[in-house]
């Protein structure tokens, strides 16, 4: 500010009038907006009423089955399938993406074929395929060529329903993740690679320390979507009765015929976990946004909540300012 004032003086610009008249205007009334908002709210209220007061939905049963032991076991398995398949998908994705960007033409071609097949075949088909893998591969094991020595087991004893589910979900996810990781890596400016090489870094170190952390900023948001998508895709493995949330709901409603009620119970849990994942994604994105702008990151909802609590309990202005600094510093 001092600098500007000095420049103005030096340039002979007169000082601003100290008491410029503030603007106090009558705002334009937007009646259209009010009408639109009321109409939309009415529509939503109608739909909520339709569900809430429907005599065909037994809300008591919904409440009762929300905490049902079988449902919770199914939810647990759904979360496990999601986590394991995602871990498999991310690991495969990073490996396949680096193969895709490799100078080795064989690796490049193979990774291309992998992505082509696993993105091209519907996930449902892949799930049923893995479930039936024992038909084409009855036994798996190791043979020592030229001898009768060897060891093998029945495929069906290894590829259980759970393993089939995780393989199908994970391999499919790997193909999508590979494309996401590749795009993320290609976003990073080539100057970064040059700078690392010029400092004597090996390609592997350069990738881990310089390229991947920067690629993460472009990788995280679509990966969050993938995670949520994968959570919901686990419901597809109910076709092989993998005992996850939807399978459990189906088993129960096939006995008591409370179809809509149990689907509502399953939906409640899917949406709950999705919400938690969205929340986690927000914080991971914040973490990787370090150094991305010269402004401080905005406070998180939690920090804002705490700040407003502090305001409510009437702390003085100085502690408020201190808490703002603390909020910025904690990021």
């Amino acid at each position: 500010m001092d600098g500007i004032a000095q420049v103005q003086k030096a340039a002979g610009v007169p000082d601003l009038e100290p008491e410029a008249e503030p603007i106090r205007a009558v705002p334009v009334r937007h009646y259209g907006r009010w009408i639109g908002a009321v109409a939309a709210l009415l529509f939503v209220a109608l739909i909520v009423r339709l569900f809430a007061l429907s005599p065909n939905i037994n809300w008591g049963a919904v409440r009762q089955y929300l905490g049902n032991g079988q449902i919770l076991k199914g939810l647990q398995l759904t979360i496990i399938y999601t986590l394991v398949s995602m871990a498999l998908g991310v690991a495969l994705g990073i490996v396949v993406a680096t193969m895709r960007l490799s100078v080795n033409p064989v690796l490049r071609a193979l990774s291309g074929v992998y992505i082509w097949i696993f993105r091209g075949v519907p996930l449902l088909v892949q799930i049923i395929f893995w479930f039936n893998i024992a038909i084409i591969l009855p036994r798996v094991g190791i043979d020592i060529p030229g001898t009768h020595l060897g060891w093998s087991v029945y495929t069906s004893s290894i590829v259980t329903t759970s393993i089939a589910a995780v393989l199908a979900l994970g391999l499919n996810e790997g193909a999508y993740m590979a494309e996401i990781v590749r795009a993320g890596i290609q976003v990073v400016d080539y100057g970064q690679t040059e700078a690392g090489l010029a400092l004597g870094m090996k390609r592997s170190l350069l990738f881990r320390m310089i390229i991947l952390p920067q690629a993460m900023r472009a990788i995280i948001p679509p990966t969050g979507n993938e995670f949520i998508g994968l959570l919901k895709s686990t419901s597809l493995v109910s076709v092989i009765a993998a005992q996850e949330l939807l399978t459990k709901a189906q088993i129960i409603y096939s006995r008591n015929l409370l179809i809509i009620e149990l689907l509502l119970v399953a939906s409640f849990w899917y949406i709950t976990v999705t919400t938690l994942l969205t929340w986690g994604q927000y914080y991971i994105e914040r973490y990787y946004a370090r150094g991305s702008s010269n402004r401080q990151l905005p406070p998180t909802p939690m920090q804002r909540f705490r700040a407003s609590l502090r305001r409510m309990y009437g702390r003085d202005e100085t502690s408020e300012a201190a808490s703002q600094v603390e909020a910025g510093g904690a990021s």
């Binding site: 690392g196 010029a198 400092l199 004597g200 170190l205 310089i210």
Partner: protein, 253 residues
């Protein structure tokens, strides 16, 4: 004494485009050589060949008596392994036109990254060294900042400190002030000037003729992939002999 840089008829093609058509020049140890020339003349490419960011197609390129990127065994040249190329590069510092600082690391992390991870220096020692280097480029208080929080001139000074942290025996500058606002140019040039006074061997591609006159031991004018004229700043800038040098110098001065 073997020169720090010895380029013997270095040639480089990109497809059909011949960028370098037999560049020969030497930089003695402790010397400062400024390379000037119109854009597209191959100056930057030549600099990038020196630490093997580009491979050369013909000629020989020696840094401190060692072939860059190859090894002579008998009458055959063998490509160096990646690891050996990394060792060669780690002894040559490079400063880029666009700074290329690592945006996700703080200034100090930028500087200690290579010494700790490439040379295996202890973190405490590397951090200590980084602090000294930051002080020497006038940024002692910026260690915890991220690159984007700095001005262009500050970023380029950090980039110089980052290159120096590897204790290089040769520093390459690829148009280090071309991306800077005019009022920030001098702060970077001052750091480079001090570096030259301290005895660093430097090869500088620049359009800053004032710097060339004041600091360079010799000036090399490159055009069309060949050295057109070389000599002291007084000779090349003050009294150019070739037509092309004359017309270039008259435009930039």
């Amino acid at each position: 004494m073997t020169p720090m840089v010895d380029a013997q008829r270095v040639c480089k093609r990109f497809g059909k485009l011949e960028v370098l058509r037999g560049i020969s020049l030497q930089v003695p140890k402790g010397g400062v050589v400024v390379v000037i020339g119109p854009s597209g003349s191959g100056k930057s490419t030549f600099l990038r060949c020196l630490n093997h960011l580009e491979t050369i197609d013909a000629g020989r390129l020696y840094v401190d008596g060692m072939l860059v990127g190859y090894e002579q065994r008998g009458d055959k040249l063998h490509e160096l392994k990646d690891k050996e190329v990394c060792v060669q590069r780690s002894k040559i510092g490079m400063v880029f036109q666009s700074f290329n600082l690592f945006p996700h690391l703080t200034v100090t992390e930028n500087i200690v990254a290579a010494p700790t991870r490439v040379k295996g220096e202890k973190r405490t020692e590397a951090t200590q060294h980084a602090q000294e280097l930051l002080a020497s480029v006038g940024l002692a208080d910026k260690g915890a900042a991220y690159p984007r929080q700095l001005s262009g001139g500050q970023q380029q000074r950090v980039a110089i400190a980052r290159a120096l942290a590897m204790r290089p025996k040769l520093m390459l500058f690829d148009e280090p002030t071309s991306a800077l606002d005019p009022e920030l140019v001098s702060e970077v040039l001052d750091v480079m000037k001090q570096l030259a006074i301290d005895g660093m061997t430097m090869l500088v591609v620049t359009h800053e003729m004032g710097f060339a006159r004041e600091v360079a031991d010799s000036v090399v004018f490159i055009d069309g992939g060949v050295v057109v004229e070389a000599g002291t700043p007084g000779e090349v800038l003050g009294n150019p002999q070739h037509e092309r040098t004359k017309s270039f110098v008259s435009k930039v001065l």
